[in-house]
Symmetry: C2
Subunit: 161 residues, 2 copies
């Protein structure tokens, strides 16, 4: 397996709280997301919390997908970390639909350390909603937001370089 | 559990490859790291790959700690994601020593979505090595590196705002 990877950190907001508290459904969604990303599932573990909330991880040959849900806030924190040829964007589409998320905030980080050079690079940071996309550019001057029409985010978002 | 969290993405470089390929030792280290971070372990799963490498996740009440190792590159990709009052920096110290990492590249991201505002913020991105620390400032103009004397990284590193 290649030691270079792509890591999507996603905050799903305004989700369906009933979905967020359904352990079996969350596990099914995460396993479907792993398959959509063209990855190979090794094992998975999902745990319900009292009085609500789920934590779960799907370990894949290409790294992992994790989820933590807060039904009381309609919120889920998700990570798709894939090495090799995995497609974390495809996993994102499955989760966005499955959780019925009205808003998704996505930070995209390249990873993989073979040399002494810095390996991690924040490629993009943006919010997808029904209104389109807002790109959050972080800079030494602060964060500048730019709202754009709805397009596949990989083609338009690039911050930090 | 609070829905705000702190996420450390760490690339450990020039580690001891024998450690990186020892499943029991990696699991013990990760569980020790979870305890050092003052978190509560729910469950853990660790998987060895052929011919080498380990993937493992410790699910904690406060989110998760994950590791993927490439002994052939002396490299491990680690995530410490803690919500509430967990201390991911303490987990980092345990792993850095345990893996015998000569260099650690750390990206520190705040998370947690309750409002419609962007929830994620890259707080810092830096490399710790025997020579001290190099802070990587990402900006619209590119990445600017600043090398500083060795101090606890939380006190000195702040980029993107």
């Amino acid at each position: 397996m290649k030691a270079t990877g792509r890591h999507l950190l996603v905050e799903y907001k305004n989700c369906n709280p009933l979905v967020l508290n359904d352990r079996l459904l969350i596990e099914e969604l995460m396993r479907s997301a792993a398959k959509a990303a063209d990855t190979t599932i090794v094992t998975s573990v999902f745990h319900p919390f009292f009085p609500q909330g789920i934590s779960g991880v799907v370990v894949i040959e290409e790294s992992h997908l994790s989820i933590h849900t807060w039904p009381e806030y309609g919120y889920a924190a998700v990570d798709f970390f894939t090495c090799g040829d995995g497609l974390p964007e495809k996993a994102h589409e499955v989760l966005k639909q499955g959780l019925e998320a009205k808003t998704s905030e996505i930070m995209f980080v390249n990873r993989g350390a073979i040399s002494e050079e810095p390996a991690m690079e924040m490629v993009s940071h943006l919010t997808e909603s029904e209104q389109g996309q807002t790109i959050h550019f972080s800079s030494l001057r602060g964060v500048e937001d730019v709202t754009v029409e709805d397009k596949p985010f990989r083609k338009i978002a690039r911050a930090g370089k």
